[in-house]
Symmetry: C2
Subunit: 221 residues, 2 copies
DNA sequence: GTAGACGTTTAGAATTTTCTGAACGATGTG
DNA sequence: CACATCGTTCAGAAAATTCTAAACGTCTAC
């Protein structure tokens, strides 16, 4: 089994020295760690979460809080909070060792599992929430449109038409996410085509178009 | 054609008054606007961008900067900057009117087009950039691993194995994005399965598994 | 009991992001 | 020319996020 020592650069103090293998390895690890930091940022987590995940991902065995504090030169409090967030998202898990009060952490390396969790818990939830709100608004708009007359009825109908475009998109998004989680298949050609049709519904007569998702059964493996 | 007047709530000052139709319409519009603000936030833009898009999306005809400033109760400078960002992402376009110095803006209502642009320009670029960096790191790791011996070679190989998992995922992500833009189809069952295989490569002997994307031709309509 | 190791919490510091308001340049009008 | 309108820019204000350092609680060992 590999040594659990963290491959940190041995402070490149001496100038002009050709880089040792250990230093090279550490440089590569650092680059990786920073990249995941950026990814995390990009996806609305924060830099440190990404970096922590990366450190664990590159470690052959579980690490303690202090290991990570040392490696990332952050504060204990900060690491504590962020590692707990990672746990919450199923990206990291805790390991208990016998007769050792320290907590050890390791990365979930089945990345698809990790991502599915996030898709399901975060993206999908967000999507559905807005979808619900939108559908509800549309229902009210229908009522208002029916009750009102003249200009206000026109406005209600216009709002309705526009919102319908978005509703269908969100619905498609929801199905897409479900397929990703469930392992289904999706054909984007349809979505594309339908989206276009819907978008131009203003101009041409109303079309009953919906985004569609290929059902699991119908799919070429 | 609909009146271009903005349906703002007429300050609900009088108490106990049953809500006018105009007020109801405005409430619904506001809710919609705020929802898109949240969506924008969620996707790493900012609240105002989403709100501006929403305002234009619900307007039957193009609006000026000042219209939007009024509607969103923001500052001119802020709206100016954010509307330009929206333009940059192809979510909004400018309309010129004859003998009118004002700039008018309208939303791109072909949402799929808009999203494709974002996927292509932002998500995909980000993904590819990291993919490149990762591949490069892995190449170096191979060299280092070959040159080094003993423990350090082991570390290099371990890093390599772990990074490979991520590389394949990113590659799959890139293909997924391409399919979304091009209108292809994707089967997530494979991705799922392969991801799992790759993730467990640590334990079982190395498997040459890759994420795969269904080719356009092979797809059910 | 005391002392030390460990993780969590939190007030407020530091940093980053977003926003405002005023100044400015450009354009048009009389 | 003076004056008004319109959009942009930018210095600094405001707000939100992230981070640190210290205090604290719990557990273990002696």
């Amino acid at each position: 089994m590999l040594d659990s020592r963290l491959y940190q650069s041995k402070s490149q103090s001496e100038v002009g020295e050709s880089p040792s293998t250990a230093n090279q390895l550490d440089e590569l690890a650092k680059e990786f760690i920073n990249n995941l930091g950026r990814v995390a940022d990009f996806f609305g987590f924060n830099r440190l979460m990404g970096q922590l995940y990366a450190v664990l991902f590159l470690s052959p065995d579980p690490l303690t809080l202090d290991d990570m504090v040392k490696r990332l030169d952050s504060s204990k409090g900060n690491v504590s909070i962020n590692i707990r967030n990672l746990e919450r998202w199923g990206l990291v898990r805790q390991i208990y060792k016998w007769a050792d009060r320290k907590n050890y952490y390791e990365a979930e390396t089945d990345i698809w599992k990790a991502i599915s969790g996030i898709l399901q818990e975060r993206e999908r939830k967000e999507n559905q929430q807005i979808l619900r709100s939108l559908s509800q608004s549309m229902k009210k708009l229908e009522e208002v449109g029916a009750a009102a007359s003249g200009e206000e009825a026109d406005v209600a109908n216009f709002y309705l038409k526009r919102m319908e475009v978005l509703r269908q998109l969100l619905q498609f998004g929801d199905q897409l996410l479900e397929m990703m989680v469930r392992g289904g298949a999706v054909d984007f050609a349809r979505a594309q085509q339908m989206a276009h049709t819907v978008a131009n519904a203003d101009k041409s007569p109303q079309v009953e178009a919906t985004f569609e998702v290929i059902d699991e059964e119908d799919t070429l493996n």
